[in-house]
Amino acid sequence: MNLGRTQQRIRWLTLAILIGSGVLLTILDSTGALVGVLGFVRDPLTTVTDWTSARADAAGDIIAGPRNLAAAREEIAALQVQVEEQARTIEELSEAQGEAQVLRDLFNRAAETPEYRRVLADVIGQDTNPAIESILIDKGVDDGVRTGMPVESARGLVGQIYRASNNAAQVALLTETASAIPVRLGTTRATGILRGAGRGALPTIDWIDLQYVVEVGELVMTSGLGGKFPEDMIIGRVVQVERNEAELFQRAVVQPAVDFRTLETVFVVTEFETVDTEIFSEEP
């Protein structure tokens, strides 16, 4: 009888300790008090993850090879049909021109910003939680990577560094709900804040002034305001505009230019020229 009661006490004590530890760790990590300790644990693990990731890539390529070939053939056939249709209609031609323009802009962008310092990083993992969107890269504090730095790929902005340990860093994707990026639209030049909507949903630009007539297909870029991102980094295109004359602002849904699931290599922008906002602090 007493033994049973003792076991019951031990069980409750274990439960209390585990829950207490969980809550305590959550609070300590949220306040940044565990950065050093967790970095010490993460660093050796990321080395193993890096190695595992490279092997998984190779295995994935071997397995996906025949499927890719079949998919590529189907894609070529579909594209041929599309090319014929495009020859008939001016609208579809202009759409194709727009796509080409995006790619041209990206290449030009890379050539136009030699003053930015970038660190090339491999994507070695994805977030282990199903509801969160982040990636793990193989560059960290030792390579000059710091929390808050922008991360881009050849197609556009990916997100920003959420936390960095000595040889790895976690990147919060721009689609993540905690993400807020000052942006500008390519044609109308309207500004707003791009907010992530979480996994499975497209990010939206809030706080766009109603005076601008935002069009579907407009290019979305970083505005550089706030100094956390360089200006004119491509983010994506507007795919939907939510405009209500009864409200003060309009919203736009954005399709990111980057396919986050297929990212393999990214740039961390470690140094860039910030937008000069001194003019706003000067007294008239």
């Binding site: 969980g22 990590d29 993460r42 998984a56 993992g125 282990t128 509801a131 969160i132």
Partner: protein
């Protein structure tokens, strides 16, 4: 208990690396299972509440080391998701595959529900589309728990062979 506790730490570390580096490249029908949760759940169903909770706690810590979420959050969600099926287990017919699948689905649902609520409180709220996107995990876990349950059962036999008395 102590041996199992120490076995959980390296095993969950290996599973966490598989979860972050390999599973995203090989999703099952477009869905990535939460391997660490399933192993903790299977262990708990076989070994009881105490060990299930400890394994869930350790699994959660490893998961959060590779995630944006604060360390400890997944532990709390995992513990709730593991505890509920274990407490419900004695009320259901023993050693039946559909029962194990059902318990895994229930545990996953509870874990995801708590996890999403906690994320919302921390500013990582999910849209309706995002929430709907999580539901296939429940179904996948209900299926995947069966082979994992078998593997964990075999692992237990290695770690703790039955005594034979003469």
């Amino acid at each position: 208990m102590a041996v199992n506790f120490y076995a959980a730490i390296p095993l969950m570390a290996v599973l966490a690396i598989i979860q972050t580096a390999i599973l995203p490249r090989f999703p099952i029908a477009g869905v990535e299972p939460q391997l660490l949760f399933l192993v903790a759940l299977a262990w708990g169903l076989l070994r009881g509440l105490d060990e299930g909770l400890v394994w869930a706690f350790i699994a959660g810590i490893w998961v959060d080391l590779f995630s944006l979420t604060p360390v400890g959050l997944s532990s709390l969600a995992f513990m709730a998701g593991v505890a509920a099926p274990i407490l419900l287990q004695p009320m259901l017919p023993p050693r039946r595959l559909p029962v194990t699948a059902l318990l895994a689905a229930l545990g996953t649902l509870i874990y995801l529900l708590l996890y999403v609520i906690a994320l919302g409180l921390l500013g990582h709220g999910l849209s309706a589309v995002g929430l709907a996107g999580l539901l296939p995990i429940v179904l996948l876990h209900a299926i995947l728990v069966l082979p994992i349950y078998y593997v964990v059962h075999q692992l237990l036999r290695v770690l703790q062979p039955r005594r034979v008395e003469f």
